[in-house]
C-alpha cells in the first residue's frame, strides 16, 4: 500500500497550520516526520486520520483519491494511529481494552471475552509484543501500555501505523524495545510514520526523514548521511547550538541543603523516599528520571506547595522546611514550574501582570493596598527587551504568546528577582529549539553569577548537557550521583530504569 498526501493546506483562524504539504509513505518503510512544536506535524496527522478536513489538497491511497470524514474512514482504509496520550480504560484488562469498539460477541450480544483473549494472544505472538491479555492496564508500565495501543491498531488491520511522539513517555530501555517493535512491524509488511522532535531517534530508526517547519515541508534528509545539526538547522531555519556552552563550575557554599526528605501522597504512597542532597552556589545539579518517579513531588515540596512528611530543608542556612511559597520567594528562591500553562502563568492575564506574578507584593510594585502599575509596566518593558520575549505589546494576554515566549516570561520573572537558588522543572518542555538555546544560556549565566541551580527534567539530553552533577531518581529515591562528563547516556538510562550498569563508570555512589 502506498499512501500519499498531496498539497495539503489547513488553515486555522490566524495561522496556516499546513501549507501545501506533500508526503508519501509506503508499506515496508519508516518515515520520520520531524519538526518543532507548532510546526504542523499533529495537524497533518489529524488531517490524515480524518479528524480535520483539509482546506486544500487530497489524500491518495495506491494512487486513487480517498476522502476521510472521520477516523472510522481512515481506520477502514488501513491507517492506524497511536496517540501520544494513550486512549485506554485503566481499570479494564488488556483484552477488554483492545476489543473496545469491535467487541466479538456471542449470542444475545454477550461479550466473547475468550475470543478477545485469543485475538490478543495471536497478534501479540505474531509481532513479538509479549502481552498478557488478562493484565489490568493500570498495573502496566507505560511501555507495555503503548504495546496495548499498538495491538489495538493492528487488530483493526492497519497497514500504515502513525506514532505521535511515541518515545516521550518511555525510558531509554523501553525506547530500544520500541524500536525493535517498529522493526518487526516493518518486517511484516507494515508502514510506519514516526512523529518526533528527537533527532537522534529519527536518525536511528527512520528510512527517510521529512522536516516540517511552520507548516511547510522544509526538506527531506537521508538518515544514512545526514547529521543532527543539519536536520536541526532545517527545523529551525538557522544554525543551532545543540550543546550547551559552559565553563567548568566553581561551586561555592551550600545553598540548598535537603536532608532525609520524605513525602507521602494522599493515597499513602511514599513518592519521595528519604532523599538527601546539597546544591552549592555556582553549580547546576540535574535530577534525571523517567516521569512519575517523584520528581514532581520533590519540586512541589521544595517550592512550598506540598507538605513533607519528614526531613529538613535549608536555604542559605535558614530552615525553610515548612515555609510557604511566599516565604521561599522572599528568601531567594526562583521557581520555574513544571507546567507553564497550569502553574507558571495566568494566561488570561497580560504579559506585564504575569511578569510581576511572584513579586507584585514587593514594595516596588505595591504600597500594600494599591498596585503601582506604571512601575510594573516599566519593568515589564525592560524584561521583555532583556529576555527576548517576542511580543508587540506587553499589555497583551500571555495566552497570545508562543510556548517558547511564555516560558521566557517565566524565566525572566524568576531570574530577574534577587535570588540565591533556581528551581527549574522541565524548563524547556515543548518549546522551540531557539527558545531552548536561549533559556539554557540564561540558566548557565545565572550559575556563573553565583546562583545555585537545581534542574529537574525528564529530557536526559537536557540534564546531561546542563548539569555539573546529575542525580538519578527512581521510585522516589536518589539511586545515583553521577558526573555527566564521565558517564554515558546509556548508563544513566539504566539507572533511570532502576537497574545498574555492570561497570559503574563515573558513578560516585
Amino acid at each position: 500500500m502506498k499512501l500519499e498526501l498531496r498539497g495539503i493546506t489547513k488553515r486555522f483562524p490566524g495561522v496556516v497550520a499546513n501549507d501545501d504539504v506533500n508526503l508519501s509513505i509506503s508499506t515496508g518503510e519508516v518515515l520520520a516526520l520531524v519538526g518543532e512544536n507548532g510546526a504542523g506535524k499533529s495537524t497533518l496527522m489529524n488531517v490524515l486520520y480524518g479528524l480535520y478536513k483539509a482546506d486544500e489538497g487530497e489524500i491518495l491511497i495506491d494512487d486513487s483519491v480517498v476522502r476521510f470524514t472521520s477516523p472510522a474512514d481512515a481506520i477502514s482504509a488501513g491507517i492506524g494511529m497511536v496517540h501520544q496520550h494513550f486512549m485506554l480504560v485503566p481499570v479494564f484488562t488488556v483484552a477488554e481494552n483492545v476489543v473496545l469498539g469491535i467487541e466479538p460477541t456471542k449470542r444475545f450480544g454477550a461479550l466473547d471475552i475468550d475470543k478477545a483473549r485469543q485475538l490478543v494472544r495471536e497478534v501479540s505472538d505474531r509481532y513479538n509484543l509479549d502481552l498478557d491479555p488478562d493484565a489490568i492496564v493500570e498495573d502496566l508500565p507505560v511501555g507495555v501500555r503503548q504495546r496495548v495501543e499498538i495491538v489495538k491498531v493492528l487488530m483493526r488491520d492497519a497497514k500504515i501505523v502513525v506514532f505521535d511522539e511515541p518515545t516521550a513517555v518511555l525510558t531509554p530501555s523501553e525506547i530500544i524495545e520500541f524500536f525493535s517493535i517498529v522493526r518487526t512491524l516493518i518486517a511484516s509488511g507494515k508502514g510506519v510514520v514516526f512523529i518526533t522532535h528527537k533527532l537522534k531517534e529519527a536518525l536511528t530508526i527512520a528510512d527517510r526523514i521529512n522536516v516540517l517547519r511552520r507548516g511547510k515541508v522544509a526538506g527531506a534528509a537521508d538518515p544514512k548521511t545526514a547529521t543532527e545539526a543539519q536536520i536541526a538547522e532545517m527545523m529551525v531555519g538557522r544554525a543551532v547550538q545543540l550543546t550547551v556552552n559552559k565553563k567548568p563550575a566553581t561551586p561555592g557554599d551550600a545553598v540548598l541543603n535537603v536532608q532525609n526528605l520524605s513525602v507521602v501522597d494522599p493515597d499513602g504512597r511514599k513518592v519521595v523516599d528519604d532523599i538527601s542532597f546539597v546544591v552549592h552556589a555556582g553549580e547546576i545539579v540535574g535530577v534525571a528520571g523517567v516521569q512519575g518517579n517523584g520528581q514532581t513531588e520533590l519540586v512541589e515540596t521544595l517550592s512550598g506547595l506540598r507538605r513533607l512528611n519528614s526531613g529538613q530543608i535549608t536555604l542559605d542556612g535558614k530552615d525553610v522546611t515548612h515555609s510557604s511559597p511566599r516565604d521561599l520567594h522572599t528568601s531567594g528562591m526562583g521557581h520555574i514550574p513544571e507546567d507553564r500553562q497550569l502553574q507558571g502563568l495566568v494566561t488570561g492575564m497580560s504579559i506585564t501582570e504575569n511578569l510581576v506574578l511572584t513579586r507584585y507584593h514587593d514594595g516596588m510594585f505595591s504600597d500594600g493596598v494599591k498596585m503601582k502599575w506604571p512601575k510594573a509596566k516599566e519593568i515589564a518593558k525592560e524584561l521583555v527587551a532583556n529576555y527576548d520575549i517576542r511580543t508587540s505589546d506587553p499589555e497583551q494576554l500571555a495566552s497570545t504568546l508562543s510556548g517558547g515566549n511564555q516560558q521566557k516570561v517565566i524565566v525572566a520573572r524568576e531570574l530577574s528577582r534577587d535570588i540565591r537558588l533556581v528551581l527549574a522543572a522541565q524548563p524547556t518542555r515543548g518549546i522551540d529549539v531557539g527558545s531552548i538555546e536561549y533559556i539554557h544560556e540564561q540558566i548557565v549565566k545565572e550559575r556563573d553569577s553565583g546562583t545555585a541551580v537545581l534542574i529537574v527534567s525528564t529530557e536526559l539530553d537536557e540534564v546531561m548537557a546542563l548539569s555539573d552533577r546529575v542525580l538519578v531518581m527512581y521510585r522516589g529515591k536518589i539511586v545515583a550521583e553521577l558526573d555527566p562528563k564521565k558517564v554515558s547516556h546509556m548508563d544513566v538510562g539504566l539507572y533511570m530504569a532502576g537497574s545498574r550498569p555492570t561497570e559503574s563508570a563515573g558513578a560516585k555512589s
Partner: protein, 374 residues
C-alpha cells in the same frame, strides 16, 4: 477598550436576535391574527409591543426613572455575582445576602433617629456589612471544608428567607398592629432621597439615590479589580488558582475575601431596596433579583462596565415590559423570555456570529469559574 466594543457588539447583536425571536413568539401567540391570517395585524402587534417597550424604558422622565429604579438592585447584586466570578466562585446566594443586608439596614433605619446625612450612609453601610457577613459564611465554608459554594449559597438563601420571615414576626421588627410579616417603617430621615425630588409632587418618579450608591459601587469594583493588590490576587486566583498558589497567594483567604465583597454588594442591594424603594421590609424584599443578578453578571462577563450595561439593559426591559403589558395585549412575561434569549445568545456567540455573519476570529471568551472539581 477594543474588548469592550467587541463585547458590546455581541450584546447588541444578542439583543437584536432575541427581539427577532420575541417577535416570532408574539406573532404565533396572537391567536386572532393567526386565525384571520391577517399578517398586517400581526406586524402591528409586534410593532406596538416593541414601541411601548422602548417608550416605557427610555421615553420621558417617568420611564427613565422606572429604568433607573429597576437597574439599581440589579446592578448591585450583579456586582455581587461578578466579583465572585472574578475570584473563581459561583455566587448563587445574592438573594440571601440581599435579605441579610436589607434587614441590617432596616434595623438602623428604624432603630435610630439621627439626621439624614448620618442615617442614610450608616444604614447603607449596615446593609453592606450584614450582606458581607452572610456572604462570608459561604466563603469560609469553602475555604475551611471545601463545601462547594453553589450548594452552600443556595442553602443559605433558604436560611435567609426563613430567618427574615421569623424576624419580621418578632416584636423588634414587626409593625405594630399588623398580623402579617411586615416590618416597621424606617424613619423619614433614613430614606434614600428621590433622584427626581426636584420635580415637585411627581410621586410616580420612584428612582432614588440608591442608583448613585450602585454607580459608586461599580466604580469601587473597577478600582478594586484593576488598581489594588487584592484585586490582582482575586483575578489571578479566579483565572488560575494553581498559578496563584504557586505565586504565593493565599487562595483560601481570597475565597473568603471574594465572598465578603460579594455579600457586601448584595447587602447594599437589599439596603437600597429597603431604604429607597420600599421604606420597610417584607418577605418579598429580594424577589427574583438575586437570580437575575446571575444573568446580569454573565451577560456583562463580570467586568465593571459590562455589569453596568447589562444591569441597565435588564432594568430597561423590566420598566418597558410593564408599560408593554399595560398598553398592548402582550404580557410582561415576554420580558422573561427576552432576557433568557439574550443570555442564551450571549452564551452562544458562535450562533450569533453565524446569524449575523460577523467576520471576527475572536469569539468573546465567556465566563469562567471553577466547576464541581474546584
Amino acid at each position: 477598550m477594543k474588548d469592550l466594543l467587541k463585547s458590546l457588539r455581541y450584546t447588541l447583536l444578542a439583543l437584536v436576535a432575541s427581539l427577532l425571536v420575541g417577535a416570532i413568539i408574539i406573532v404565533i401567540t396572537d391567536v386572532d391574527a393567526l386565525k384571520s391570517g391577517d399578517f398586517g395585524k400581526a406586524f402591528s402587534t409586534v410593532f406596538n409591543a416593541y414601541k411601548s417597550l422602548f417608550q416605557g424604558s427610555f421615553w420621558g422622565v417617568r420611564s427613565i426613572s422606572n429604568t433607573i429604579a429597576g437597574t439599581t438592585p440589579l446592578l448591585l447584586s450583579g456586582l455581587a455575582v461578578s466579583i465572585a466570578f472574578k475570584g473563581g466562585l459561583f455566587n448563587i446566594g445574592a438573594t440571601g445576602q440581599m435579605l441579610a443586608g436589607g434587614m441590617t439596614s432596616l434595623w438602623v433605619g428604624f432603630a435610630f433617629d439621627g439626621p439624614g446625612w448620618l442615617q442614610v450612609p450608616l444604614a447603607v453601610a449596615a446593609g453592606a456589612i450584614g450582606g458581607a457577613i452572610f456572604g462570608g459564611i459561604a466563603g469560609l465554608l469553602k475555604a475551611r471544608t471545601g463545601a462547594h459554594e453553589v450548594i452552600t449559597t443556595i442553602m443559605l438563601n433558604s436560611i435567609a428567607s426563613f430567618l427574615v420571615l421569623w424576624l419580621l414576626k418578632t416584636t423588634l421588627f414587626q409593625r405594630e398592629g399588623r398580623p402579617d410579616p411586615i416590618s416597621k417603617p424606617i424613619s423619614e430621615a433614613s430614606r434614600l432621597p428621590r433622584l427626581f425630588g426636584f420635580l415637585d409632587g411627581r410621586v410616580d418618579l420612584v428612582a432614588h439615590a440608591g442608583f448613585i450608591v450602585a454607580l459608586l459601587a461599580t466604580l469601587f469594583y473597577w478600582w478594586l479589580l484593576k488598581r489594588t493588590t487584592v484585586g490582582f490576587e482575586l483575578r489571578a486566583t479566579g483565572l488560575n488558582s494553581d498559578a496563584a498558589k504557586y505565586a504565593g497567594m493565599k487562595t483560601k483567604s481570597l475565597m473568603v475575601i471574594a465572598m465578603l465583597f460579594a455579600g457586601g454588594f448584595a447587602g447594599m442591594a437589599g439596603a437600597t431596596e429597603v431604604l429607597g424603594t420600599y421604606g420597610y421590609a417584607s418577605t418579598s424584599l429580594a424577589g427574583n433579583i438575586g437570580f437575575d443578578a446571575i444573568a446580569v453578571a454573565l451577560l456583562g462577563q463580570s467586568s465593571p462596565i459590562g455589569t453596568l450595561v447589562s444591569a441597565l439593559l435588564f432594568g430597561a426591559l423590566q420598566a418597558g415590559g410593564r408599560s408593554m403589558q399595560a398598553n398592548t395585549d402582550v404580557p410582561v412575561d415576554l420580558i422573561i423570555v427576552l432576557r433568557a434569549l439574550i443570555v442564551m445568545f450571549v452564551a452562544a456567540p458562535l450562533l450569533v456570529k453565524a446569524m449575523f455573519r460577523v467576520k471576527s476570529q475572536v469569539v468573546s471568551q465567556g465566563q469562567t469559574f471553577r466547576g464541581w472539581g474546584g
